[in-house]
C-alpha cells in the first residue's frame, strides 16, 4: 500500500484485466449487465448483485489471506460458517435478541479459529492437518446445534444482515467493505502485516528475531474464524435459514482460490488483501456470468478448475524461472537418471 500507485497498479494488471474481461463477457451475454437502478430504498442491478453475493467470499478471503500469508491454510472455514450460521439461527428462533445471537455466533467462530490456532502454533501441527479436524467435525457440530433440521427464521433483525440496506447499499457489501478497510489499516499502518509476512517466509527465523510467532499465529487463525463466522451469519440471514449440511459447502475452496487469484503465494510471504478481494469478485463475476448466460450452473466447477490450473501454471512457471528453466530441469533430470 505504501508503494507508489503505478507499480501497484501494474502488479495488479493481470487480475484487473481478467476482471474487466469477465465483466465484458457478462455484458455480451446479458446486455443489461451494467444497469444499476435505485428502487425501494436500495440499489439493484447485476453489478450490485455480484458484489452482494461475493461479500461472503470476500470476507472469507480476507481471513484466508492472513492465514495463507503465514504459510498456512484453513480448510475449516466452510464448516465454521455452518456452525456460526446454525447458532445464530437457533438462538434467534429460541427467542434470544438478535445482537446476542450474532455476538454468540461470532464468538463461536472465534473459538473455532483459536482452536485451529492452538493446534498450529502450540502443537506444531501442519495447518492442513490441524484444520482438517474441524472441517470433519464442524458440520457434525452444526447439525448438533440445529438438531439435524434446517432451522428457518423470520426475525427481521437477523434477516437484515443478509438482505437489508443502509443508504441504499446492501448490508453484506457494507460489512465486507468495512472489514476490508479496517483490516488493511490494521496490517499496513502498523507492523502487523510485515510480521505476518515474516512468519510466512521463515517462522523459526522470525522467532529467533524476537517475534512471538505463536501468539501471532493464534491471532491470525482466530481472526480467520471470526471472518468465517461473519460470512456464515450473512449466508444464513440471506436464505433465512441455517442448513448445517450445505451452508458454506466448498466455500473454503473459493476462499483459497480468491487468495491465489489475488497473487498471494501458497508458500507464504507477501500478501495483498485488496487483491484477494478482487480475486473474490472475479470468482463471483464468473458465477453470475454463467447464470446470466444461461449455461447450466454445473459448468461453474469446471471453469473454476481450469482457472486454478491456469493460475498454478503461471505461478509455477514464474517461480521456476519460466519455460527455459523448466526445460533445463527436465534435461538435467534425464541425464541424472541415465
Amino acid at each position: 500500500m505504501k508503494n507508489m500507485f503505478i507499480p501497484a497498479a501494474a502488479r495488479a494488471a493481470p487480475q484487473l484485466g481478467s476482471l474487466a474481461l469477465i465483466l465484458f463477457l457478462n455484458y455480451l451475454a446479458f446486455p443489461g449487465f451494467f444497469e444499476i437502478r435505485f428502487q425501494d430504498g436500495r440499489l439493484y442491478g447485476s453489478l450490485v448483485d455480484v458484489l452482494n453475493r461475493g461479500a461472503p467470499i470476500i470476507i472469507l478471503a480476507i481471513g484466508m489471506t492472513a492465514v495463507i500469508a503465514s504459510r498456512g491454510v484453513d480448510l475449516s472455514v466452510g464448516a465454521v460458517m455452518a456452525v456460526s450460521g446454525a447458532l445464530a439461527a437457533t438462538m434467534t428462533v429460541a427467542g434470544y435478541p438478535v445482537p446476542v445471537a450474532v455476538i454468540a455466533a461470532i464468538g463461536v467462530g472465534l473459538l473455532c479459529g483459536l482452536w485451529n490456532g492452538v493446534l498450529v502454533a502450540y502443537f506444531d501441527l501442519q495447518p492442513i492437518v490441524a484444520t482438517l479436524i474441524l472441517m470433519v467435525t464442524g458440520r457434525g457440530i452444526a447439525q448438533l446445534i440445529t438438531e439435524g433440521s434446517i432451522v428457518t427464521f423470520n426475525e427481521p433483525g437477523l434477516i437484515f444482515f443478509g438482505s437489508g440496506a443502509i443508504l441504499g447499499i446492501p448490508v453484506p457489501i457494507l460489512i465486507a467493505a468495512c472489514l476490508l478497510a479496517v483490516t488493511i489499516v490494521l496490517v499496513r499502518r502498523t507492523a502487523l502485516g510485515l510480521l505476518i509476512e515474516s512468519i510466512g517466509v521463515n517462522r523459526s527465523a522470525s522467532s529467533y528475531a524476537g517475534l512471538n510467532s505463536k501468539l501471532l499465529l493464534l491471532v491470525i487463525y482466530g481472526f480467520c474464524g471470526v471472518c468465517a463466522a461473519l460470512a456464515g451469519i450473512i449466508i444464513a440471514a440471506d436464505i433465512r435459514g441455517a442448513d448445517a449440511n450445505n451452508a458454506g459447502l466448498w466455500l473454503e475452496l473459493d476462499a483459497i482460490l480468491a487468495v491465489v487469484i489475488g497473487g498471494t503465494s501458497l508458500f507464504g510471504g507477501r500478501f495483498s488483501l485488496i487483491m484477494s478481494a478482487i480475486g473474490a469478485i472475479i470468482i463471483q463475476a464468473m458465477n453470475t456470468g454463467i447464470l446470466l448466460s444461461g449455461f447450466p450452473p454445473e459448468y461453474n466447477l469446471i471453469l473454476k478448475a481450469l482457472v486454478i490450473i491456469v493460475i498454478l501454471l503461471a505461478q509455477s512457471f514464474s517461480s521456476l524461472g519460466g519455460w527455459a528453466f523448466l526445460k533445463g530441469e527436465f534435461r538435467a533430470k534425464g541425464t541424472r537418471q541415465q
Binding site: 492442513i128 492437518v129 472441517m135 457434525g140 459448468y299 469446471i302 490450473i309 537418471q337
Partner: protein
C-alpha cells in the same frame, strides 16, 4: 518397543474395545450378518482409502477421491444405460480415464512443484463438474451383468453374506499390503514420504514414483466408483460428497502419519472398520442421528494426530539425547 507400531496397536485396541462396548449393549451385533454388512457397506470407502494411504505415505494428499468416485458412477450409468455398452467395457473405460486423471495430477504436482492439495482440489472441481455436465439426474443401472455380480456372495454360517464387493475390498487391501511392504515401488513411497530430498539423492526415481502414486490413487478411486455403482445400482452426480475426508480419517485413525513416511495399509483397514462400527452402532441404537459419526470420527482424528505428535516429539528427543550410557 517399536514406537512406529504403537498407533497401529492403539487403533486395534480401540476397535476391539469399541466392538466389545457395542456387544455389551447390543449382543445381536455379534453375528456374521453384521460382519458381512460391515465389509459390504464400507467396500467403496475401503478401496479408496487404500489409494489414499499410499498418497499420504508419500507425504501428499488427494482431495479428488469423492468426486472421482461419483464421476465413475455417472460415467458407468451413462455408458451402460444410455449407450448400451457392456459393463465390462465400461469398467475398462472408467478405470483408464481415472488412472490417466490421477497420473495427470501427479505430473502437475511433481513437475510444477505445486502443493498436492491445491492440484487435487482442482481435480475435485473438474471431476465433479464433469459429472454435472454428463447428467444431473440419478440414472439407474439395470443390466443382467450387474444383477449377476450383485448375486455373487458366499453365505457365512449364521446368515451373513460375504459379497463380491466386500471380498474385492479385502483383496485390494491384501494387494496394497504386498505393494507397500514387499515391492520396490512400496519402499520408494516410504522413502519419498520420509524425506524427499534424501530419497532423490539415494537414487529413488521421484518423478516416476510420484506419478505412479497418484495414478494408483486415481485407479483405486475408479475401482471404488465401480464398487459404489454395484452397491447402489445407480449413478448420481451428487453422490459421495466428502468421501475423501472419510478416507483421510480412516488412514489417520489407522496410524499413518499425515506428514508421510510412517504407516501401514493394514491400519487403514482397521480405520475403515472403526468408522463402519460407529455407523452400525448408530443404526442399532436408533435414536442417535448420523451426525454423531462425524463428531466421533473428528474426535478420533484429533486423538490420533495428537498421539502421533507426542510420539514424534519423543523420538526427536531420544535421537537428540546423547547415545551410550
Amino acid at each position: 518397543m517399536n514406537t512406529r507400531l504403537l498407533p497401529l496397536y492403539a487403533t486395534l485396541l480401540i476397535c476391539l474395545i469399541a466392538y466389545a462396548a457395542c456387544l455389551i449393549q447390543f449382543p445381536a451385533m455379534f453375528s456374521t450378518r453384521v460382519a458381512g454388512n460391515l465389509l459390504t457397506d464400507n467396500a467403496f470407502l475401503g478401496i479408496a482409502a487404500v489409494g489414499m494411504t499410499f498418497v499420504i505415505l508419500s507425504g501428499g494428499i488427494d482431495l479428488s477421491v469423492g468426486s472421482v468416485i461419483a464421476f465413475t458412477g455417472v460415467l458407468l450409468a451413462v455408458l451402460i444405460t444410455q449407450h448400451g455398452v457392456h459393463p465390462l467395457v465400461a469398467f475398462a473405460v472408467a478405470l483408464a480415464i481415472t488412472t490417466a486423471f490421477g497420473a495427470a495430477m501427479g505430473i502437475i504436482i511433481h513437475y510444477l512443484q505445486v502443493p498436492a492439495f491445491i492440484v487435487t482440489l482442482a481435480g475435485m472441481f473438474l471431476a465433479r463438474g464433469m459429472c454435472f455436465v454428463m447428467t444431473t439426474d440419478s440414472i439407474p443401472i439395470d443390466h443382467p451383468f450387474y444383477a449377476a455380480l450383485q448375486g455373487v456372495f458366499y453365505r457365512l454360517p449364521g446368515g451373513g453374506r460375504l459379497t463380491f464387493i466386500g471380498c474385492l475390498m479385502v483383496a485390494v487391501f491384501v494387494v496394497g499390503m504386498i505393494i507397500a511392504h514387499f515391492s520396490k515401488f512400496g519402499s520408494y513411497i516410504y522413502a519419498i514420504g520420509g524425506n524427499r530430498s534424501s530419497a532423490e539423492l539415494m537414487g529413488v526415481p521421484v518423478a516416476r514414483t510420484t506419478i505412479g502414486i497418484y495414478a494408483m490413487s486415481g485407479f483405486l478411486s475408479g475401482l471404488s466408483g465401480i464398487v459404489f455403482s454395484l452397491y447402489t445400482s445407480a449413478g448420481y452426480s451428487l453422490a459421495t460428497v466428502g468421501v475423501e475426508l472419510d478416507a483421510i480419517a480412516a488412514v489417520v485413525i489407522g496410524g499413518t502419519l499425515l506428514t508421510g513416511g510412517v504407516g501401514y495399509v493394514a491400519g487403514t483397514f482397521v480405520g475403515v472398520i472403526i468408522q463402519g462400527l460407529i455407523q452400525t452402532y448408530i443404526v442399532f441404537d436408533g435414536t442417535l442421528s448420523s451426525w454423531w459419526t462425524k463428531i466421533v470420527v473428528g474426535v478420533l482424528l484429533f486423538s490420533f494426530i495428537g498421539l502421533q505428535r507426542v510420539l514424534v516429539v519423543l523420538s526427536l528427543r531420544r535421537s537428540a539425547a546423547p547415545t551410550g550410557g
